[in-house]
């Protein structure tokens, strides 16, 4: 009896990986479009498919490499080569939690909601801890060409270096535009930014 239960449990656990197709259809039947949040948002790109398929277990190494290469190729450096915008605007973007929800006005600029998951400026004590602290980000790392490019890449597409990261792919998915990303870069690197005080 116990053995039967174990076998059944094993089968149940194996189900999600095998049942990807029907789950997609049943998901679609369980949601409806609301304002900007249309049903197309349920469609997965290859990265999302792979991350879903292997969750919650560790990714096999070749899948991790596949996801990294898929995403690495999407990263576009700033058109004018300038990485740093305005840190004051960056702070506002980091604070703003709205954008892209069915309840948000799509005409208003979206936020990055960075404080939901990261510590940034010391003055903001209401920060989350899903991501690492970014306090003193530029002060600790400097602003060499390599560091700037790597950080831009992280903001633009987190999955290029960390497959299935919990952090959204802000540039690649068009959540934030190029100027907004530059403003966040300034928040991280500008010596006068509250992050580096």
């Amino acid at each position: 009896m116990r053995r039967l239960a174990l076998v059944l449990w094993g089968l149940l656990n194996a189900l999600p990986a095998q049942a990807a197709e029907p789950v997609n259809e049943r998901l679609r039947d369980s949601f409806e479009a609301k304002n900007q949040a249309t049903l197309e948002r349920l469609e997965q790109d290859e990265t999302q498919q792979l991350c879903t398929r292997y969750a919650p277990t560790d990714l096999p190494a070749e899948v991790a490499r596949r996801i990294q290469s898929l995403n690495q190729s999407t990263i576009k450096p700033p058109a004018d080569g300038q990485y740093l915008g305005d840190f004051t605007r960056g702070e506002a973007i980091a604070q703003r939690g709205t954008g892209w929800q069915s309840s948000d006005d799509p005409a208003k600029p979206a936020g990055g909601n960075c404080y939901a998951c990261h510590q940034l400026a010391a003055a903001e004590v209401a920060y989350g801890n899903l991501g690492p602290s970014l306090y003193h980000y530029g002060k600790l790392r400097g602003a060499s060409a390599e560091v700037l490019a790597a950080t831009w890449g992280k903001l633009y597409n987190s999955n290029a270096t960390e497959p299935c990261s919990r952090m959204p792919r802000f540039g690649h998915r068009g959540i934030l535009d190029e100027q907004q990303l530059k403003d966040l870069m300034a928040l991280l690197f500008d010596p006068a930014s509250p992050v580096n005080q």
């Binding site: 149940l12 999600p16 049903l39 892209w100 209401a126 989350g128």
Partner: protein
């Protein structure tokens, strides 16, 4: 109702508007502040009392009460029923959670049109939801009851599997799934603590306290409301009420919380 409680409640509206229109930042503080002022009094009692009355009153085109409504333990049995939901129902040949079962009973027994019930599924200020009141009553009758979901029917096992798949399904502009926020211990969004829904302890803490009176909204909200608001924040389309995913996800989380004792309706920020 105790007069003192009623009096306290009248002052509540102004207090809520004043103190709780804030970011998630101070949310835990808001709950503590509320408890300091009101102790263990829970406005959910109003919803429970109204729900009990609605349950017993002959209503709808068929002028029937819900005395014949079977929540899984036999017609009219309310006590302990919520702790064993969602479950398979032979009469509808579906797995149903509380909200979908109430819809079934209100359409089949009382003759209410389903669309009208769905329009008022979530209360909004003066327009209160009968479904939320009925849910509060039914859940209140499971206080202290242990969650038990044997999942013996194949359809219940399939619903569990769908719920698990939905929990890990990453999609939308932000790549979020439920697991993005709810699969690790000791995590917060801003200052709001996140239950780890993949462990029995975390799932119990969350599941046994819903439905809940939501201070920030001045409404009693059911578990399906909680789920659809998570999906809104995940940037997904709208989760349909009483849909397969809503029921499956509820069942998946209830199963993880199995053995926990129901303590709802509770109070949440």
């Amino acid at each position: 109702m105790k007069p003192l409680f009623a009096k306290r409640l009248r002052g509540l509206g102004a207090l809520l508007l004043g103190s709780f229109a804030l970011t998630a930042a101070a949310s835990d503080d808001a709950l503590r502040e509320y408890r300091e002022m009101f102790g263990d009094d829970n406005p959910a009692a109003l919803w429970e009392a109204r729900g009990e009355q609605l349950w017993q009153t002959a209503r709808g085109p068929q002028h029937a009460s819900l005395a014949a409504c079977d929540l899984g333990l036999g017609p009219g049995v309310v006590k302990g029923a919520y702790a064993q939901l969602p479950r398979w129902f032979a009469d509808t040949a579906r797995v149903e959670d509380l909200e979908s079962r109430l819809l079934t009973c209100m359409t089949e027994l009382q003759g209410f049109p389903r669309d009208a019930l769905l329009t008022t599924r979530f209360g909004d200020g003066e327009r209160k939801s009968d479904l939320e009141a009925l849910a509060a009553y039914v859940v209140g009758a499971s206080r202290g009851a242990e969650i038990r979901l044997p999942l013996q029917h194949p359809a219940e096992q399939a619903a569990w599997a769908l719920g698990q798949a939905a929990f890990y399904y990453r999609a939308g502009p932000h790549d979020f799934s439920c697991a993005t926020c709810h699969a690790q211990a000791d995590k917060r969004i801003r200052l709001q603590t996140l239950p780890q829904l993949t462990t029995a302890e975390g799932a119990r803490e969350a599941y046994t306290h819903w439905p809940a009176y939501r201070i920030s909204q001045g409404e009693l909200r059911t578990f399906e409301w909680r789920l659809q608001d998570c999906y809104r924040q995940q940037r997904f389309p709208q989760l349909k009420f009483a849909s397969e995913v809503a029921v499956g996800l509820s069942l998946f989380l209830a199963k993880t919380a199995e053995g926990g004792a129901m303590a709802a309706p509770a109070i949440r920020r």
